[in-house]
């Protein structure tokens, strides 16, 4: 177990990824919007200073005069994913181990024979230079402390993007100042429970009787307390745990009222889920489909319908499309405005594990067809070859009107540079 854990995370990661390739975004407020250009999900400090909050709906705030300088961007997950990959690679070559915790946060094993303040400062520089994303780094004897340190590095600009909580005395001073809700894993509900016992600051929580904490917050809360005291309970997770389930759910670009469109959407989601399944060499034994209307639409009854069933183990797009479309057809009602659908696969197992006594499909032929389709799509771009059921125009698809180029993954969209 490492003596020191670090957490590095990208500052306004999505916005920073956009800025990396577009110098016109450098000095203006930038906001990245959720799928369908719905609401703000990433903001640069300039955008925060203008009062834009996480979750602000774009169509409601876009007209405000003071927000005129803001550059609104659709989310370009292809780009963000590739930039996250670059950050990971830079880190993995410099520290013993890296755990990618989310697209923009990575835990680090910081057992390096170096002065950590200097080392982490260099790490930030190299990530910025090579992966083009500004970051903050926090570190300490446990993951929970590293996460807290990272939050401080982000919130207190005088720390210069770095925060070291290795020293118990320094930690104790911060613990006095900070509410317990700042701790990773302590949510609003837990915070309320603790407040009833008079526990407000992190220091109060750390000093509380561990048995009482375990009774109140279960073993999970007990672990958080241990970690804050400096005893590591959460190791770095190197392997992504085998998935229990996998889903493809998405809101439509506009309400869907035609069965033909819903059928295409469900087929497309089933196909995408099947692709994910095959990428991990898994098969699904259980399938669920849901569709629902807008819960906030005035004067419309909210309808959320789903159907789930066991299926013969498969990862074949054609099987999953057929089953999912059949389920969706059973749920479909005319005259309603459906805003979202989803396909959820469960009971996943390694592909081809069981010989099937009553198999109705020929698994080897199926595997071969799918492998060819996946290979073509890898080589020529996603969606080059696809089942006809998912449609061509996809009018129900995601609305992304301010989408930047996929600068790093499509040869036709790479950054343009003017010869000087």
């Amino acid at each position: 177990m490492p003596a020191t854990y670090g957490l590095i995370d990208g500052n306004s990661f999505y916005c920073s990824a956009e800025r990396a390739f577009d110098p016109a975004l450098r000095h203006v407020p930038v906001v990245v919007l959720s799928n369908n250009d719905g609401c703000a999900i990433a903001r640069t400090p300039e955008a925060k200073a203008l009062g834009i909050k996480m979750g602000d709906p774009w169509h409601l705030v876009r007209g405000r005069a003071e927000l005129r300088p803001v550059r609104w961007m659709s989310s370009n997950y292809t780009l963000y994913g590739d930039m996250s990959r670059r950050v990971y690679q830079v880190l993995a070559e410099r520290v013993p181990r890296v755990e990618p915790y989310s697209i923009d946060e990575m835990f680090l094993d910081l057992d390096v024979p170096r002065d950590l303040a200097l080392f982490c400062a260099e790490l930030r520089q190299e990530v910025l230079h090579i992966a083009k994303v500004p970051t903050c780094v926090g570190w300490g004897p446990t993951k929970t402390i590293a996460k807290l340190a990272n939050g401080l590095a982000k919130d207190f600009s005088e720390l210069g993007g770095l925060c070291d909580l290795t020293d118990p005395a320094e930690r104790a001073a911060w613990y006095q100042r900070l509410p317990v809700g700042e701790v990773w894993g302590i949510g609003g509900r837990t915070q309320e429970k603790l407040a009833r016992l008079g526990i407000e600051s992190i220091a109060d929580f750390v000093e509380a009787d561990p048995r009482i904490m375990r009774d109140l917050l279960t073993v999970v809360g007990g672990r958080v307390q241990m970690e804050l005291r400096g005893t590591s309970c959460l190791p770095l997770q190197m392997m992504v745990a085998t998935r229990k389930g996998l889903a493809c759910t998405r809101a439509f670009g506009r309400p869907v009222t035609q069965w033909s469109e819903m059928r295409e959407a469900v087929a497309a989601y089933a196909h995408r889920a099947a692709e994910k399944l095959r990428a991990e060499d898994l098969e699904a034994c259980h399938l669920a489909v849901f569709i629902h209307t807008d819960p906030h639409a005035p004067g419309e009854r909210y309808e959320h319908l789903q159907h789930a069933a066991r299926i013969e183990p498969t990862s074949d797009s054609r099987d999953l499309i057929a089953e999912a479309v059949r389920m969706a057809e059973g749920l479909w009602q005319d005259g309603r405005r459906w805003v979202k659908a989803g396909v959820v696969l469960n009971d996943l197992q390694p592909a081809g594990r069981q010989a099937r006594l009553f198999a109705t499909r020929e698994p080897r032929a199926s595997a071969k067809t799918m492998a060819v389709m996946d290979a073509i799509n890898r080589q020529h771009g996603a969606g080059t070859l696809r089942p006809a059921a998912i449609g061509i125009a996809q009018n129900w698809g995601t609305r992304r009107t301010m989408l930047s180029p996929r600068y790093t993954t499509r040869i036709g969209e790479i950054m343009r540079v003017r010869a000087f």
């Binding site: 083009k132 790479i414 950054m415 343009r416 010869a419 000087f420």
Partner: protein
């Protein structure tokens, strides 16, 4: 594996003597090191660097980890624009040397970002 499944080994009549020696097609990602986090392909606009052998439409492989050196071609961001320019080092500082003789060199300043150094060039059509 080739898309139709034949790699040079799956013969039906005579066993292919090549089957133990197959290597697959040349992978240009490998040659150009495109899997490295520091490598970014970019596309050239404009004719200013023709004398340097860089044509409009060329794909340059920019390397964000490479150190600048005099004579190198670099990608820089300046005043909201992305430029590809030759670097020079004179009188203790870096300059962008224009490809066209009738233009003055520009000193590399604080408000300029040296984004990457060009490491390779790909011309899709000759």
């Amino acid at each position: 594996m080739a898309q139709d499944g034949y790699t040079g080994a799956e013969t039906t009549g005579f066993v292919s003597p090549a089957s133990d020696h197959l290597e697959g097609p040349i992978d240009l990602s490998e040659v150009l090191d495109l899997r490295r986090p520091n490598r970014y392909p970019v596309r050239v606009l404009g004719e200013a660097l023709i004398d340097r052998g860089i044509l409009p439409g060329d794909v340059l492989i920019a390397d964000a980890a490479a150190d600048p050196r005099p004579g190198a071609v670099a990608i820089v961001m300046l005043h909201g624009e992305v430029l590809v320019a030759q670097l020079a080092h004179k009188r203790g500082q870096w300059w962008l040397r224009p490809g066209r003789r009738d233009q003055p060199a520009v000193p590399v300043s604080e408000d300029m970002t040296l984004w990457a150094v060009v490491a390779a060039l790909v011309r899709e059509r000759v």
